[in-house]
Symmetry: C2
Subunit: 327 residues, 2 copies
Protein backbone atom coordinates (compact mmCIF):
# COMPACT_ATOMS: atom_id res chain seq x y z
CA UNK A 1 0.00 0.00 0.00
CA UNK A 2 1.34 3.45 -0.84
CA UNK A 3 2.25 5.66 2.13
CA UNK A 4 0.02 8.37 0.69
CA UNK A 5 -2.32 7.98 -2.25
CA UNK A 6 -2.34 11.64 -3.39
CA UNK A 7 0.23 13.25 -5.72
CA UNK A 8 2.55 14.10 -2.85
CA UNK A 9 5.91 12.90 -4.10
CA UNK A 10 8.75 14.35 -6.14
CA UNK A 11 11.55 12.61 -7.99
CA UNK A 12 14.96 14.27 -8.30
CA UNK A 13 17.34 12.99 -11.00
CA UNK A 14 21.08 13.62 -11.21
CA UNK A 15 22.19 12.89 -14.78
CA UNK A 16 25.97 12.44 -14.98
CA UNK A 17 28.42 11.32 -17.64
CA UNK A 18 28.77 7.88 -16.04
CA UNK A 19 25.73 7.38 -13.79
CA UNK A 20 22.08 8.34 -13.36
CA UNK A 21 20.87 8.74 -9.77
CA UNK A 22 17.14 9.11 -9.03
CA UNK A 23 15.73 9.88 -5.58
CA UNK A 24 12.13 9.86 -4.40
CA UNK A 25 11.15 12.60 -1.93
CA UNK A 26 7.93 13.17 -0.01
CA UNK A 27 6.17 16.56 0.17
CA UNK A 28 8.53 17.70 2.97
CA UNK A 29 11.43 16.76 0.68
CA UNK A 30 12.51 13.90 2.92
CA UNK A 31 14.38 11.28 0.87
CA UNK A 32 12.46 7.98 0.75
CA UNK A 33 14.74 5.96 -1.55
CA UNK A 34 17.17 6.06 -4.48
CA UNK A 35 18.04 4.05 -7.58
CA UNK A 36 21.25 4.20 -9.59
CA UNK A 37 21.83 3.17 -13.23
CA UNK A 38 24.90 3.62 -15.40
CA UNK A 39 24.36 6.27 -18.09
CA UNK A 40 25.73 4.34 -21.10
CA UNK A 41 26.22 7.69 -22.82
CA UNK A 42 27.94 6.06 -25.81
CA UNK A 43 24.67 4.35 -26.76
CA UNK A 44 23.28 7.74 -27.85
CA UNK A 45 20.72 10.31 -26.78
CA UNK A 46 17.51 8.25 -27.09
CA UNK A 47 18.90 5.30 -25.14
CA UNK A 48 20.06 7.63 -22.32
CA UNK A 49 16.62 9.27 -22.15
CA UNK A 50 15.00 5.83 -21.88
CA UNK A 51 17.44 4.90 -19.11
CA UNK A 52 16.55 8.07 -17.20
CA UNK A 53 12.87 7.13 -17.44
CA UNK A 54 13.66 3.57 -16.33
CA UNK A 55 15.71 4.84 -13.38
CA UNK A 56 12.80 7.08 -12.27
CA UNK A 57 10.32 4.18 -12.52
CA UNK A 58 12.64 1.84 -10.56
CA UNK A 59 13.14 4.42 -7.80
CA UNK A 60 9.38 4.99 -7.48
CA UNK A 61 8.74 1.25 -7.42
CA UNK A 62 11.47 0.71 -4.79
CA UNK A 63 9.50 3.06 -2.52
CA UNK A 64 6.28 1.05 -3.09
CA UNK A 65 4.81 4.00 -4.96
CA UNK A 66 3.59 4.50 -8.50
CA UNK A 67 4.08 7.33 -11.00
CA UNK A 68 0.51 8.57 -10.48
CA UNK A 69 1.60 9.65 -7.00
CA UNK A 70 4.48 11.78 -8.33
CA UNK A 71 3.66 15.48 -8.71
CA UNK A 72 6.83 16.44 -10.55
CA UNK A 73 10.26 15.26 -11.67
CA UNK A 74 13.33 17.51 -11.52
CA UNK A 75 16.54 16.76 -13.38
CA UNK A 76 20.01 18.23 -13.32
CA UNK A 77 21.95 17.75 -16.57
CA UNK A 78 25.68 18.34 -17.15
CA UNK A 79 25.99 21.24 -19.61
CA UNK A 80 24.26 24.38 -20.80
CA UNK A 81 20.55 24.06 -20.22
CA UNK A 82 17.60 26.19 -21.29
CA UNK A 83 15.47 25.83 -18.18
CA UNK A 84 12.36 27.55 -19.59
CA UNK A 85 12.33 25.50 -22.80
CA UNK A 86 13.41 22.30 -21.02
CA UNK A 87 16.23 21.72 -23.51
CA UNK A 88 19.83 20.64 -23.06
CA UNK A 89 21.71 23.10 -25.32
CA UNK A 90 24.99 21.16 -25.19
CA UNK A 91 26.62 18.70 -22.78
CA UNK A 92 30.37 18.18 -23.30
CA UNK A 93 30.41 14.82 -21.44
CA UNK A 94 27.38 13.31 -23.20
CA UNK A 95 28.20 12.43 -26.85
CA UNK A 96 25.57 13.72 -29.28
CA UNK A 97 23.72 15.90 -26.77
CA UNK A 98 23.10 19.11 -28.69
CA UNK A 99 19.74 20.89 -28.42
CA UNK A 100 17.91 17.92 -26.88
CA UNK A 101 14.26 18.50 -25.77
CA UNK A 102 14.73 16.42 -22.62
CA UNK A 103 11.70 17.77 -20.75
CA UNK A 104 9.30 16.96 -23.57
CA UNK A 105 10.81 13.51 -24.21
CA UNK A 106 10.61 12.48 -20.54
CA UNK A 107 7.09 13.85 -20.10
CA UNK A 108 6.03 11.70 -23.05
CA UNK A 109 7.61 8.59 -21.46
CA UNK A 110 6.46 9.21 -17.88
CA UNK A 111 3.35 11.42 -18.09
CA UNK A 112 4.55 13.57 -15.16
CA UNK A 113 5.67 17.24 -15.38
CA UNK A 114 9.47 17.48 -15.79
CA UNK A 115 11.72 20.43 -14.82
CA UNK A 116 15.27 20.79 -16.08
CA UNK A 117 18.37 22.60 -14.81
CA UNK A 118 22.16 22.62 -15.12
CA UNK A 119 23.67 20.02 -12.74
CA UNK A 120 25.79 22.40 -10.66
CA UNK A 121 23.00 24.97 -10.54
CA UNK A 122 20.64 22.25 -9.33
CA UNK A 123 23.14 21.10 -6.67
CA UNK A 124 23.46 24.73 -5.51
CA UNK A 125 19.66 25.03 -5.37
CA UNK A 126 19.52 21.88 -3.23
CA UNK A 127 22.15 23.21 -0.82
CA UNK A 128 20.47 26.65 -0.70
CA UNK A 129 16.91 25.43 -0.21
CA UNK A 130 17.38 22.34 1.96
CA UNK A 131 20.72 22.79 3.77
CA UNK A 132 20.35 26.58 4.30
CA UNK A 133 16.50 26.83 4.23
CA UNK A 134 16.66 29.52 1.48
CA UNK A 135 17.82 32.09 4.04
CA UNK A 136 21.07 33.50 2.57
CA UNK A 137 20.49 36.26 0.01
CA UNK A 138 23.67 35.38 -1.90
CA UNK A 139 25.26 31.91 -1.89
CA UNK A 140 27.87 30.32 -4.13
CA UNK A 141 28.02 26.56 -4.55
CA UNK A 142 31.32 25.00 -5.65
CA UNK A 143 31.43 21.31 -6.54
CA UNK A 144 34.80 19.61 -6.74
CA UNK A 145 34.82 16.20 -8.40
CA UNK A 146 36.30 14.95 -11.67
CA UNK A 147 35.88 18.56 -12.76
CA UNK A 148 34.86 21.73 -10.91
CA UNK A 149 31.53 23.45 -11.42
CA UNK A 150 29.48 25.98 -9.56
CA UNK A 151 26.14 27.67 -9.13
CA UNK A 152 25.25 31.19 -8.08
CA UNK A 153 22.31 32.22 -5.90
CA UNK A 154 22.20 36.01 -6.19
CA UNK A 155 19.49 38.15 -4.61
CA UNK A 156 17.78 34.99 -3.40
CA UNK A 157 17.51 33.12 -6.69
CA UNK A 158 19.58 31.15 -9.20
CA UNK A 159 21.45 33.42 -11.59
CA UNK A 160 21.78 32.04 -15.13
CA UNK A 161 23.47 34.71 -17.31
CA UNK A 162 23.14 35.62 -20.96
CA UNK A 163 23.85 32.17 -22.48
CA UNK A 164 22.58 30.36 -19.37
CA UNK A 165 26.12 29.19 -18.53
CA UNK A 166 26.85 31.34 -15.45
CA UNK A 167 28.77 29.53 -12.74
CA UNK A 168 31.36 27.85 -15.00
CA UNK A 169 33.93 28.62 -12.33
CA UNK A 170 36.06 25.57 -13.20
CA UNK A 171 37.56 27.41 -16.14
CA UNK A 172 38.54 30.55 -14.26
CA UNK A 173 42.30 30.91 -14.86
CA UNK A 174 44.23 31.19 -11.59
CA UNK A 175 47.69 30.22 -12.80
CA UNK A 176 48.57 31.58 -16.23
CA UNK A 177 50.85 28.97 -17.86
CA UNK A 178 49.83 26.43 -15.21
CA UNK A 179 48.96 22.79 -16.00
CA UNK A 180 46.96 22.02 -19.13
CA UNK A 181 43.17 21.81 -18.69
CA UNK A 182 40.71 19.62 -20.62
CA UNK A 183 39.27 22.82 -22.14
CA UNK A 184 42.54 23.49 -23.98
CA UNK A 185 43.74 26.37 -21.78
CA UNK A 186 46.27 26.31 -18.95
CA UNK A 187 45.97 26.94 -15.22
CA UNK A 188 42.17 26.71 -14.93
CA UNK A 189 40.78 26.19 -11.40
CA UNK A 190 39.73 22.68 -12.55
CA UNK A 191 43.28 21.87 -13.71
CA UNK A 192 44.63 22.75 -10.25
CA UNK A 193 42.12 21.53 -7.67
CA UNK A 194 39.87 18.79 -9.15
CA UNK A 195 40.21 15.04 -8.59
CA UNK A 196 41.74 14.89 -12.08
CA UNK A 197 44.40 17.42 -11.03
CA UNK A 198 45.11 15.61 -7.76
CA UNK A 199 45.47 12.24 -9.50
CA UNK A 200 47.73 13.79 -12.18
CA UNK A 201 50.05 15.16 -9.49
CA UNK A 202 50.10 11.87 -7.55
CA UNK A 203 50.96 9.97 -10.73
CA UNK A 204 53.67 12.50 -11.62
CA UNK A 205 55.14 12.08 -8.12
CA UNK A 206 55.21 8.30 -8.49
CA UNK A 207 56.86 8.62 -11.91
CA UNK A 208 59.53 10.83 -10.32
CA UNK A 209 60.18 8.03 -7.84
CA UNK A 210 58.45 9.48 -4.78
CA UNK A 211 57.24 6.81 -2.35
CA UNK A 212 53.57 6.43 -1.53
CA UNK A 213 51.49 3.69 0.06
CA UNK A 214 48.96 4.28 -2.74
CA UNK A 215 51.06 2.06 -5.03
CA UNK A 216 50.90 -0.73 -2.40
CA UNK A 217 47.13 -0.27 -2.14
CA UNK A 218 46.34 0.06 -5.86
CA UNK A 219 49.33 -1.19 -7.86
CA UNK A 220 52.05 0.73 -9.67
CA UNK A 221 49.76 2.28 -12.29
CA UNK A 222 47.33 3.53 -9.61
CA UNK A 223 44.36 2.40 -11.68
CA UNK A 224 40.93 2.89 -10.09
CA UNK A 225 42.27 5.43 -7.59
CA UNK A 226 39.41 7.10 -5.71
CA UNK A 227 39.17 10.07 -3.36
CA UNK A 228 38.61 7.62 -0.47
CA UNK A 229 42.02 6.01 -1.16
CA UNK A 230 43.64 9.42 -0.74
CA UNK A 231 41.87 9.88 2.59
CA UNK A 232 43.11 6.50 3.83
CA UNK A 233 46.68 7.25 2.71
CA UNK A 234 46.67 10.72 4.33
CA UNK A 235 45.31 9.35 7.61
CA UNK A 236 48.13 6.81 7.62
CA UNK A 237 50.67 9.63 7.17
CA UNK A 238 51.46 9.25 3.46
CA UNK A 239 53.65 12.22 2.52
CA UNK A 240 52.97 12.39 -1.22
CA UNK A 241 49.17 12.18 -0.83
CA UNK A 242 49.24 14.76 1.97
CA UNK A 243 51.37 17.20 -0.04
CA UNK A 244 49.30 16.91 -3.24
CA UNK A 245 45.92 17.21 -1.51
CA UNK A 246 47.20 20.16 0.55
CA UNK A 247 48.29 21.96 -2.63
CA UNK A 248 44.89 21.31 -4.25
CA UNK A 249 43.14 22.66 -1.15
CA UNK A 250 45.25 25.80 -1.32
CA UNK A 251 44.36 26.35 -4.99
CA UNK A 252 40.70 25.74 -4.10
CA UNK A 253 41.00 28.44 -1.42
CA UNK A 254 42.41 30.90 -3.96
CA UNK A 255 39.50 30.09 -6.29
CA UNK A 256 37.06 30.72 -3.43
CA UNK A 257 38.82 34.02 -2.62
CA UNK A 258 38.46 35.14 -6.26
CA UNK A 259 34.74 34.45 -6.10
CA UNK A 260 34.41 36.31 -2.79
CA UNK A 261 36.29 39.31 -4.21
CA UNK A 262 34.04 39.36 -7.27
CA UNK A 263 30.66 38.46 -5.78
CA UNK A 264 30.92 39.00 -2.02
CA UNK A 265 28.31 36.33 -1.20
CA UNK A 266 27.07 35.58 2.30
CA UNK A 267 28.05 31.91 2.13
CA UNK A 268 30.33 29.78 -0.02
CA UNK A 269 29.40 26.10 0.16
CA UNK A 270 31.91 23.57 -1.11
CA UNK A 271 30.70 20.12 -2.11
CA UNK A 272 31.27 17.32 -4.63
CA UNK A 273 32.94 13.93 -4.36
CA UNK A 274 36.41 15.21 -3.48
CA UNK A 275 35.11 17.31 -0.58
CA UNK A 276 32.75 14.54 0.55
CA UNK A 277 35.78 12.21 0.91
CA UNK A 278 38.34 14.78 2.06
CA UNK A 279 36.50 17.58 3.91
CA UNK A 280 38.54 17.17 7.11
CA UNK A 281 41.78 17.08 5.15
CA UNK A 282 41.03 19.98 2.78
CA UNK A 283 38.68 22.49 4.40
CA UNK A 284 41.06 24.04 6.99
CA UNK A 285 43.70 24.72 4.31
CA UNK A 286 41.06 25.90 1.84
CA UNK A 287 39.57 28.37 4.33
CA UNK A 288 43.00 29.65 5.40
CA UNK A 289 44.07 30.24 1.77
CA UNK A 290 40.76 31.96 0.98
CA UNK A 291 41.13 34.34 3.93
CA UNK A 292 44.70 35.14 2.85
CA UNK A 293 43.60 35.99 -0.70
CA UNK A 294 40.47 38.11 -0.21
CA UNK A 295 40.74 41.88 -0.12
CA UNK A 296 41.15 43.03 3.47
CA UNK A 297 37.81 44.00 5.01
CA UNK A 298 35.60 42.17 2.51
CA UNK A 299 35.16 38.85 4.31
CA UNK A 300 33.53 39.93 7.54
CA UNK A 301 30.57 37.67 8.28
CA UNK A 302 31.15 35.47 5.22
CA UNK A 303 31.13 31.71 5.86
CA UNK A 304 32.93 29.02 3.87
CA UNK A 305 31.46 25.60 4.64
CA UNK A 306 31.55 22.03 3.36
CA UNK A 307 28.13 20.83 2.20
CA UNK A 308 26.56 18.04 4.24
CA UNK A 309 24.43 16.80 1.32
CA UNK A 310 27.31 14.92 -0.32
CA UNK A 311 26.34 12.88 -3.33
CA UNK A 312 22.65 13.68 -2.69
CA UNK A 313 22.99 17.41 -3.49
CA UNK A 314 21.98 16.79 -7.12
CA UNK A 315 18.83 14.73 -6.47
CA UNK A 316 17.84 17.04 -3.60
CA UNK A 317 18.16 20.15 -5.77
CA UNK A 318 16.30 18.43 -8.59
CA UNK A 319 13.44 17.65 -6.19
CA UNK A 320 13.43 21.33 -5.11
CA UNK A 321 13.20 22.28 -8.80
CA UNK A 322 10.22 19.92 -9.23
CA UNK A 323 8.47 21.25 -6.13
CA UNK A 324 9.01 24.87 -7.28
CA UNK A 325 7.79 24.05 -10.77
CA UNK A 326 4.56 22.45 -9.55
CA UNK A 327 3.85 24.90 -6.70
Amino acid sequence: MPENPSKDYFVGVDLGGTKILAGVFNAKLELKGTTKLSTKADRGVDEVIERIARCVKEAVDECDLNLAQVRGIGIGAPGAVDTDAGRVIFAPNLPGWKDVPLKKALEKLLDVPVFLGNDCNVCTLGVFDQEYKAKPRDLIGIFIGTGIGGGLILNGDLYHGHNLTAGEIGHMVIEVNGPKCGCGNRGCFEALASRTAIFREIQAGVKEGQETMLTDMLGKDLSDMRSGDLRKAIRRGDKLATKVVEAAAEFAGIGVANLINILNPEIVVVGGGVIEALADEMMPTLIKAAKEHVMPGTMSGIDIKASKLGDNAGITGAAVLARRGTA
Copy 2:
Protein backbone atom coordinates in the same frame (compact mmCIF):
# COMPACT_ATOMS: atom_id res chain seq x y z
CA MET B 1 20.03 84.37 -15.67
CA PRO B 2 19.64 80.65 -14.99
CA GLU B 3 18.83 78.49 -18.00
CA ASN B 4 15.90 77.01 -16.06
CA PRO B 5 14.68 78.30 -12.70
CA SER B 6 13.17 74.98 -11.44
CA LYS B 7 15.07 72.19 -9.65
CA ASP B 8 16.05 70.51 -12.91
CA TYR B 9 19.76 69.87 -12.45
CA PHE B 10 21.89 67.11 -10.98
CA VAL B 11 25.50 67.18 -9.86
CA GLY B 12 27.66 64.08 -10.19
CA VAL B 13 30.86 63.90 -8.12
CA ASP B 14 33.79 61.53 -8.67
CA LEU B 15 35.84 61.44 -5.46
CA GLY B 16 39.30 60.02 -6.08
CA GLY B 17 42.48 59.64 -4.06
CA THR B 18 44.10 62.58 -5.86
CA LYS B 19 41.30 64.63 -7.42
CA ILE B 20 37.64 65.55 -7.03
CA LEU B 21 35.68 66.00 -10.27
CA ALA B 22 32.16 67.49 -10.19
CA GLY B 23 29.87 67.69 -13.23
CA VAL B 24 26.57 69.52 -13.63
CA PHE B 25 23.91 67.74 -15.69
CA ASN B 26 20.49 68.90 -16.85
CA ALA B 27 17.33 66.80 -16.50
CA LYS B 28 18.20 64.84 -19.67
CA LEU B 29 21.60 64.12 -18.08
CA GLU B 30 23.45 66.24 -20.63
CA LEU B 31 26.71 67.51 -19.16
CA LYS B 32 26.70 71.31 -18.80
CA GLY B 33 30.09 71.83 -17.13
CA THR B 34 32.72 70.42 -14.77
CA THR B 35 35.07 71.59 -12.05
CA LYS B 36 38.14 69.80 -10.74
CA LEU B 37 39.88 70.21 -7.37
CA SER B 38 42.72 68.21 -5.87
CA THR B 39 41.56 65.97 -3.01
CA LYS B 40 44.28 66.83 -0.47
CA ALA B 41 43.42 63.57 1.29
CA ASP B 42 46.29 64.00 3.75
CA ARG B 43 44.54 67.01 5.28
CA GLY B 44 41.96 64.68 6.82
CA VAL B 45 38.32 63.72 6.44
CA ASP B 46 36.64 67.03 7.32
CA GLU B 47 38.83 69.04 4.96
CA VAL B 48 38.12 66.62 2.08
CA ILE B 49 34.36 66.85 2.73
CA GLU B 50 34.58 70.66 2.64
CA ARG B 51 36.54 70.44 -0.62
CA ILE B 52 33.85 68.21 -2.16
CA ALA B 53 31.22 70.80 -1.17
CA ARG B 54 33.37 73.59 -2.60
CA CYS B 55 33.89 71.67 -5.86
CA VAL B 56 30.11 71.18 -6.21
CA LYS B 57 29.46 74.90 -5.58
CA GLU B 58 32.14 75.92 -8.09
CA ALA B 59 30.75 73.59 -10.78
CA VAL B 60 27.23 74.92 -10.27
CA ASP B 61 28.46 78.52 -10.37
CA GLU B 62 30.50 77.82 -13.53
CA CYS B 63 27.23 76.85 -15.22
CA ASP B 64 25.57 80.12 -14.08
CA LEU B 65 23.28 78.16 -11.81
CA ASN B 66 22.74 78.09 -8.07
CA LEU B 67 22.31 75.22 -5.60
CA ALA B 68 18.57 75.89 -5.28
CA GLN B 69 18.25 74.61 -8.85
CA VAL B 70 19.96 71.29 -8.07
CA ARG B 71 17.56 68.44 -7.34
CA GLY B 72 20.17 65.96 -6.17
CA ILE B 73 23.89 65.29 -5.86
CA GLY B 74 25.39 61.85 -6.54
CA ILE B 75 28.86 60.86 -5.44
CA GLY B 76 31.10 57.89 -6.16
CA ALA B 77 33.66 57.20 -3.43
CA PRO B 78 36.67 54.87 -3.61
CA GLY B 79 36.05 52.04 -1.14
CA ALA B 80 33.31 50.07 0.56
CA VAL B 81 30.17 52.16 0.75
CA ASP B 82 26.85 51.65 2.53
CA THR B 83 24.57 53.16 -0.08
CA ASP B 84 21.40 53.07 2.04
CA ALA B 85 23.01 54.68 5.07
CA GLY B 86 25.12 57.05 2.95
CA ARG B 87 28.31 56.09 4.76
CA VAL B 88 31.81 55.32 3.50
CA ILE B 89 32.70 52.14 5.44
CA PHE B 90 36.38 52.29 4.52
CA ALA B 91 38.45 53.78 1.71
CA PRO B 92 42.00 52.41 1.40
CA ASN B 93 43.27 55.43 -0.58
CA LEU B 94 41.79 58.11 1.69
CA PRO B 95 43.66 58.24 5.04
CA GLY B 96 41.31 58.24 8.03
CA TRP B 97 38.15 57.37 6.08
CA LYS B 98 36.48 54.77 8.24
CA ASP B 99 32.71 54.84 8.77
CA VAL B 100 32.27 58.41 7.50
CA PRO B 101 28.66 59.71 7.21
CA LEU B 102 29.42 61.49 3.94
CA LYS B 103 25.79 61.88 2.81
CA LYS B 104 24.73 63.58 6.04
CA ALA B 105 27.81 65.81 6.16
CA LEU B 106 27.37 67.03 2.57
CA GLU B 107 23.62 67.54 2.96
CA LYS B 108 24.37 69.78 5.96
CA LEU B 109 26.88 71.82 3.93
CA LEU B 110 24.85 72.04 0.69
CA ASP B 111 21.19 71.59 1.67
CA VAL B 112 20.57 69.31 -1.35
CA PRO B 113 19.79 65.53 -1.17
CA VAL B 114 23.01 63.48 -1.57
CA PHE B 115 23.30 59.86 -2.84
CA LEU B 116 26.40 57.79 -2.34
CA GLY B 117 27.91 54.78 -4.15
CA ASN B 118 31.20 52.93 -4.63
CA ASP B 119 33.23 54.63 -7.39
CA CYS B 120 33.46 51.64 -9.77
CA ASN B 121 29.82 50.73 -9.16
CA VAL B 122 28.87 54.32 -9.98
CA CYS B 123 31.01 54.27 -13.17
CA THR B 124 29.29 51.02 -14.18
CA LEU B 125 25.88 52.56 -13.51
CA GLY B 126 26.83 55.51 -15.73
CA VAL B 127 27.93 53.23 -18.57
CA PHE B 128 24.84 51.02 -18.15
CA ASP B 129 22.28 53.83 -17.96
CA GLN B 130 23.72 56.43 -20.32
CA GLU B 131 25.96 54.52 -22.77
CA TYR B 132 23.72 51.42 -23.03
CA LYS B 133 20.36 53.05 -22.15
CA ALA B 134 19.75 50.46 -19.38
CA LYS B 135 19.00 47.79 -21.98
CA PRO B 136 21.38 44.88 -21.13
CA ARG B 137 20.11 42.63 -18.37
CA ASP B 138 23.63 41.78 -17.19
CA LEU B 139 26.64 44.05 -17.72
CA ILE B 140 30.09 44.07 -16.16
CA GLY B 141 32.11 47.28 -15.97
CA ILE B 142 35.90 47.01 -15.66
CA PHE B 143 37.94 50.14 -14.99
CA ILE B 144 41.68 49.99 -15.57
CA GLY B 145 43.66 52.89 -14.14
CA THR B 146 46.20 53.10 -11.30
CA GLY B 147 44.32 50.07 -9.96
CA ILE B 148 41.56 47.90 -11.40
CA GLY B 149 37.99 47.94 -10.14
CA GLY B 150 34.66 46.79 -11.41
CA GLY B 151 30.93 46.94 -11.06
CA LEU B 152 28.25 44.34 -11.71
CA ILE B 153 24.81 44.97 -13.20
CA LEU B 154 22.94 41.69 -12.68
CA ASN B 155 19.29 41.20 -13.56
CA GLY B 156 19.10 44.85 -14.56
CA ASP B 157 20.44 46.44 -11.38
CA LEU B 158 23.66 47.04 -9.45
CA TYR B 159 24.66 44.02 -7.39
CA HIS B 160 26.33 44.88 -4.06
CA GLY B 161 26.94 41.62 -2.15
CA HIS B 162 26.96 40.80 1.55
CA ASN B 163 29.52 43.39 2.69
CA LEU B 164 28.68 45.74 -0.18
CA THR B 165 32.09 45.12 -1.78
CA ALA B 166 31.06 43.05 -4.82
CA GLY B 167 33.01 43.88 -7.97
CA GLU B 168 36.49 43.97 -6.37
CA ILE B 169 37.77 42.22 -9.47
CA GLY B 170 41.21 43.83 -9.21
CA HIS B 171 42.22 41.34 -6.55
CA MET B 172 41.17 38.23 -8.42
CA VAL B 173 44.33 36.08 -8.59
CA ILE B 174 45.19 35.08 -12.16
CA GLU B 175 48.84 34.22 -11.73
CA VAL B 176 49.63 32.43 -8.48
CA ASN B 177 53.17 33.53 -7.48
CA GLY B 178 52.97 36.37 -10.00
CA PRO B 179 54.12 39.94 -9.25
CA LYS B 180 53.41 41.40 -5.81
CA CYS B 181 50.21 43.43 -5.48
CA GLY B 182 49.56 46.42 -3.22
CA CYS B 183 47.10 44.23 -1.27
CA GLY B 184 49.93 41.96 -0.10
CA ASN B 185 49.12 39.00 -2.36
CA ARG B 186 50.73 37.99 -5.64
CA GLY B 187 49.43 37.77 -9.18
CA CYS B 188 46.24 39.82 -8.72
CA PHE B 189 44.58 41.14 -11.90
CA GLU B 190 45.60 44.64 -10.74
CA ALA B 191 49.25 43.59 -10.37
CA LEU B 192 49.28 42.36 -13.99
CA ALA B 193 47.20 44.78 -16.06
CA SER B 194 46.87 48.16 -14.30
CA ARG B 195 48.85 51.30 -15.10
CA THR B 196 50.93 50.54 -12.00
CA ALA B 197 51.77 47.10 -13.43
CA ILE B 198 52.59 48.51 -16.87
CA PHE B 199 54.87 51.21 -15.41
CA ARG B 200 56.59 48.64 -13.17
CA GLU B 201 57.38 46.45 -16.20
CA ILE B 202 58.63 49.42 -18.26
CA GLN B 203 60.89 50.49 -15.42
CA ALA B 204 62.16 46.93 -14.97
CA GLY B 205 62.91 46.78 -18.72
CA VAL B 206 64.88 50.05 -18.56
CA LYS B 207 66.82 48.78 -15.53
CA GLU B 208 67.72 45.65 -17.52
CA GLY B 209 69.12 47.92 -20.22
CA GLN B 210 66.32 47.66 -22.78
CA GLU B 211 66.07 50.70 -25.04
CA THR B 212 62.95 52.85 -25.10
CA MET B 213 62.18 56.35 -26.37
CA LEU B 214 60.28 56.87 -23.10
CA THR B 215 63.61 57.69 -21.40
CA ASP B 216 64.28 60.37 -24.05
CA MET B 217 60.79 61.77 -23.51
CA LEU B 218 60.72 61.66 -19.71
CA GLY B 219 64.25 61.20 -18.42
CA LYS B 220 66.04 58.12 -17.10
CA ASP B 221 63.85 57.72 -14.00
CA LEU B 222 60.65 57.94 -16.09
CA SER B 223 59.07 60.23 -13.52
CA ASP B 224 55.58 61.52 -14.35
CA MET B 225 55.02 58.79 -16.96
CA ARG B 226 51.38 58.80 -18.14
CA SER B 227 49.28 56.44 -20.24
CA GLY B 228 49.39 59.01 -23.05
CA ASP B 229 53.21 58.77 -23.14
CA LEU B 230 52.88 55.03 -23.73
CA ARG B 231 50.47 55.66 -26.59
CA LYS B 232 52.92 58.10 -28.21
CA ALA B 233 55.82 55.67 -27.82
CA ILE B 234 53.82 52.73 -29.25
CA ARG B 235 52.66 54.78 -32.25
CA ARG B 236 56.28 55.65 -32.94
CA GLY B 237 57.19 51.94 -32.86
CA ASP B 238 58.80 51.68 -29.43
CA LYS B 239 59.44 47.97 -28.82
CA LEU B 240 59.51 47.93 -25.01
CA ALA B 241 56.30 49.96 -24.63
CA THR B 242 54.56 47.82 -27.26
CA LYS B 243 55.61 44.56 -25.61
CA VAL B 244 54.64 45.61 -22.08
CA VAL B 245 51.25 47.07 -23.07
CA GLU B 246 50.51 43.99 -25.18
CA ALA B 247 51.23 41.72 -22.21
CA ALA B 248 48.97 43.81 -19.97
CA ALA B 249 46.18 43.65 -22.58
CA GLU B 250 46.52 39.87 -22.68
CA PHE B 251 46.25 39.62 -18.89
CA ALA B 252 43.23 41.94 -19.04
CA GLY B 253 41.65 39.59 -21.58
CA ILE B 254 42.20 36.62 -19.27
CA GLY B 255 40.58 38.59 -16.44
CA VAL B 256 37.61 39.36 -18.69
CA ALA B 257 37.36 35.66 -19.67
CA ASN B 258 37.28 34.67 -15.99
CA LEU B 259 34.39 37.06 -15.41
CA ILE B 260 32.54 35.77 -18.49
CA ASN B 261 33.00 32.16 -17.33
CA ILE B 262 31.67 33.03 -13.87
CA LEU B 263 28.90 35.51 -14.68
CA ASN B 264 28.10 35.10 -18.40
CA PRO B 265 27.00 38.74 -18.81
CA GLU B 266 25.58 40.21 -21.99
CA ILE B 267 28.21 42.95 -22.21
CA VAL B 268 31.62 43.59 -20.69
CA VAL B 269 32.55 47.27 -20.86
CA VAL B 270 36.16 48.22 -20.28
CA GLY B 271 36.99 51.77 -19.23
CA GLY B 272 39.32 53.80 -17.03
CA GLY B 273 42.32 56.00 -17.79
CA VAL B 274 44.50 53.26 -19.31
CA ILE B 275 41.80 52.22 -21.77
CA GLU B 276 40.88 55.83 -22.52
CA ALA B 277 44.50 56.43 -23.61
CA LEU B 278 45.23 53.03 -25.15
CA ALA B 279 41.94 51.56 -26.43
CA ASP B 280 43.23 51.12 -30.01
CA GLU B 281 46.43 49.53 -28.76
CA MET B 282 44.88 47.22 -26.13
CA MET B 283 41.34 46.24 -27.11
CA PRO B 284 42.11 43.88 -30.05
CA THR B 285 44.59 41.86 -27.94
CA LEU B 286 42.26 41.96 -24.91
CA ILE B 287 39.30 40.65 -26.92
CA LYS B 288 41.39 37.93 -28.59
CA ALA B 289 42.76 36.70 -25.25
CA ALA B 290 39.27 36.74 -23.70
CA LYS B 291 37.86 34.64 -26.54
CA GLU B 292 40.73 32.16 -26.17
CA HIS B 293 40.10 31.76 -22.44
CA VAL B 294 36.32 31.41 -22.16
CA MET B 295 34.72 27.98 -22.11
CA PRO B 296 33.76 26.98 -25.64
CA GLY B 297 30.12 27.79 -26.39
CA THR B 298 29.65 30.35 -23.61
CA MET B 299 30.51 33.56 -25.46
CA SER B 300 27.93 33.57 -28.21
CA GLY B 301 26.34 37.02 -28.46
CA ILE B 302 28.51 38.50 -25.69
CA ASP B 303 30.18 41.84 -26.49
CA ILE B 304 33.40 43.23 -25.06
CA LYS B 305 33.64 46.97 -25.70
CA ALA B 306 35.68 49.98 -24.66
CA SER B 307 33.57 52.60 -22.89
CA LYS B 308 33.15 55.92 -24.67
CA LEU B 309 32.53 57.85 -21.46
CA GLY B 310 36.21 58.01 -20.53
CA ASP B 311 37.00 60.12 -17.50
CA ASN B 312 33.35 61.24 -17.31
CA ALA B 313 32.01 57.75 -16.42
CA GLY B 314 32.19 58.57 -12.69
CA ILE B 315 30.37 61.91 -12.78
CA THR B 316 27.81 60.54 -15.25
CA GLY B 317 27.03 57.54 -13.04
CA ALA B 318 26.86 59.77 -9.99
CA ALA B 319 24.31 61.97 -11.77
CA VAL B 320 22.30 58.83 -12.64
CA LEU B 321 22.41 57.88 -8.95
CA ALA B 322 21.11 61.35 -8.01
CA ARG B 323 18.33 61.20 -10.60
CA ARG B 324 17.28 57.73 -9.42
CA GLY B 325 17.37 58.81 -5.79
CA THR B 326 15.14 61.84 -6.37
CA ALA B 327 12.75 60.21 -8.87
